[in-house]
Symmetry: C2
């Protein structure tokens, strides 16, 4: 159905995240046929994914069906599926179901996945957080750990179930650790009869010298102190050297912990390899100033998958605003190409960084303008609600937050995927 039979050139966009969706929307009036391919049926608002994992929001609150978002854009067809290989020269992508899609232009925006730095066997014991399924799996593990602790009678095993480690002190790690500490100390209060959830050990482990390394040092320090006030143990400067089913090794010390969460590293989607061009160390695709690939001018890369440098040589970070800007830039570059012009080089506009720490505080760095504490939280809240897609989602998220703020409760403390059977580290299909 996507063969080049139509009169218009065909753009295949792989990935309906911020980069792919923003590029697609910016091409609404371009003389193109567009196919947007994604493994999921929804666009995901990733900055709030940790709240689904920590049971504050439901999965549908932070997602919107791609078909619905794009229903009125008549030059787009949305296709649910997974690309497994790209032949850039023959201009074809192969899908997991065997279908082959031809294209004239390709935008590869399939994003990042977890990276375990050569320790892929850690993945089974320390899951990461990239999709809604990841978030529901993590929610399940976090809630089940308290259930297992309540049911078991051996003190050492109980302590291991109440020992949590979050590996990686970036925004996701900080947000997960702060929220988990609040769940243990407040949300679950009075609910157990054999354990005190407040005695849970929540540890945030960062191999580098400080948490939130992309923020100014003063804000890192504020974030650390706020985490410690919430009861999070913050360990910096020592790397995790092993993770297994029973715990993790930090430097020389082995710590028993049944729940380890990976928030330390991302690598580019493996699809990048099939472009046949050299990738950087994180598996990302180096791109030209217009975000196309050298010697493959009809192929563009945007979002977490693109290795892009700023004017000062530092890399453009893997955050939502950067992905949106790249997506819009690729749209402009393709529009320029279609009329025989040349696009301006991509320039990242860095508006700043935000991260929350528990339900009462955040840190905000707007380059020369810093906020922290409750004021920063309000700023964070406004920014996130503003950027959420869909009026209903905004209202529901606001309502859930107001309720969580007043009650300390979490709206979505529901274990899905089977809970009662005896297995300890279940996986979801």
């Amino acid at each position: 159905m996507s063969d080049r039979t139509g009169p218009l050139p065909h753009l295949l966009v792989i990935g309906g995240g911020f980069a792919g969706l923003w590029a697609t929307r910016a091409l609404a009036k371009a003389p193109l046929r567009i196919t947007l391919l994604d493994r999921s049926n929804h666009h995901l608002f990733q900055p709030l994914l940790y709240q689904v994992a920590t049971a504050g929001l439901s999965a549908p609150d932070i997602a919107a069906p791609l078909r619905h978002i794009l229903r009125r854009q008549r030059n787009v067809e949305v296709r649910l599926g997974e690309a497994t290989a790209i032949d850039a020269t023959r201009r074809q992508a192969t899908l997991a179901d065997g279908a082959v899609l031809d294209f004239d232009y390709l935008l590869l925006a399939s994003g990042a996945t977890h990276a375990y730095f050569g320790n892929d066997h850690w993945a089974a014991h320390a899951p990461g957080l990239k999709s809604l399924d990841d978030a529901l799996d993590l929610r399940r593990r976090l809630l089940l750990a308290f259930e297992r602790a309540e049911a078991c009678t051996d003190p050492a095993e109980r302590a291991a179930w109440l020992s949590f480690a979050i590996v990686g002190g970036g925004p996701t790690g900080v947000e997960l650790a702060g929220t988990l500490a609040e769940i243990a100390r407040h949300t679950l209060r009075d609910e157990f009869r054999h354990i005190d959830p407040a005695s849970a050990r929540v540890r945030l482990v960062e191999a580098g010298p400080r948490v939130l390394a992309s923020f100014p040092e003063a804000l890192s320090e504020k974030a650390r102190r706020q985490l410690e006030r919430l009861g999070v143990e913050v360990s910096t400067g020592v790397p995790v050297t092993a993770i297994d089913a029973g715990g993790y090794r930090l430097g020389e010390d082995y710590v028993a912990a049944r729940t380890v969460v990976w928030a330390a590293g991302v690598a580019a989607s493996p699809l990048a390899h099939s472009l046949g061009v050299p990738l950087d160390l994180a598996g990302r695709v180096p791109v030209e100033p217009d975000l196309s690939v050298a010697r493959l001018p009809h192929v563009f890369v945007a979002g977490d998958l693109a290795a892009v440098k700023r004017a000062d040589g530092s890399p453009v970070p893997g955050v939502a605003p950067a992905a949106k800007q790249m997506g819009r830039h690729v749209a402009a570059a393709i529009r320029a190409r279609l009329r025989g012009a040349v696009a301006r080089p991509f320039r990242y506009r860095d508006f700043g960084n935000l991260a929350t720490i528990g339900r009462m505080a955040a840190v905000v760095d707007l380059h020369g303008f810093q906020l922290w504490g409750l004021l920063a939280l309000w700023f964070w809240l406004a920014a996130h609600v503003f950027f959420l897609i869909g009026f209903r989602n905004r209202l529901v998220v606001l309502l859930n937050w107001a309720w969580a703020y007043w009650s300390y409760q979490r709206a979505a403390r529901i274990i899905l995927g089977g809970a009662g059977s005896g297995e300890q580290r279940p996986t979801r299909g």
Copy 2:
């Protein structure tokens, strides 16, 4: 932890549905230790489960953590786990994780499961709807069917993906069929490029002479006409005689359909067998007038698992109000037992029946007082929101309904559990 070491007798409640939870709450001041055991961590508001399956509500909207509901009732401990066997004589229950719980009194309220009337191999092709996991699996199948139809090029296969059958014309079947027809005709409008979702065939199949058999005939007829207005094909009087991966056989006719939903029969939870008493044909436990089991006076059964007759000899239906009444009655019977008295016999107070048909109509039978159409829908809505547990849930559900009413949209059209790979009938873990 639950051995009879304490001074108070120990009541084990198996099942945190309407019967088990209402019994537990009614015993808040009784001189008992209570353990409430459930396979899930949540109480589920089953009457709205079809709305989770049809993407109108999120799973957490209709569920609340059992621990949270009971956190202030100090004589209760909530335990997550699945009972696999009961030894009524030795007064012990064995759990799937190997633990053994002793009890002095037992309330068995583990509910019902799907029954395929001896055709258990149909289960893989026609899933039923009892738990949140069932609902999310069904949501996934319904939404994926349209995706598969859009992606496939063979007209016969496409038609099979757009052919849906709901087997069973009770309230669940009627509610699923009406909502699915609206999704096909309204919600998905404009979103596909190769199929017209409105051309989907939604068929409600009832072996008996009419849908909603428990309602007065006039309301059954109104429901049928309303379903047909929504585009549902209603087949009555002919049984389904086969279901396989490609479709179903209705009488002599084989109908190609990739999505068949089972709403036809329930059977009592298999746990009933381990009581060692004769069960009725549906696997339910016949009970004495006080809801205890003959010759096992310390064992009570309530909810869908109990075979209870009304004064006129007809069975008490498997609906939420009946389960709540039985749960409260068991609490009264145990309180009477504890002070050496005898409980009054259980008497079911039947307040009536309700069912919705799409987003604009319902039928309500209050025994002598009938409502239908939009007025009945408002009645239905008020009743359901009133009985939902939790202030936040009520608000979110109301908000979602208002939004769905105005926009024809469904708030939770998110496929979870992996969507993009090639398999056609995936299952979730």
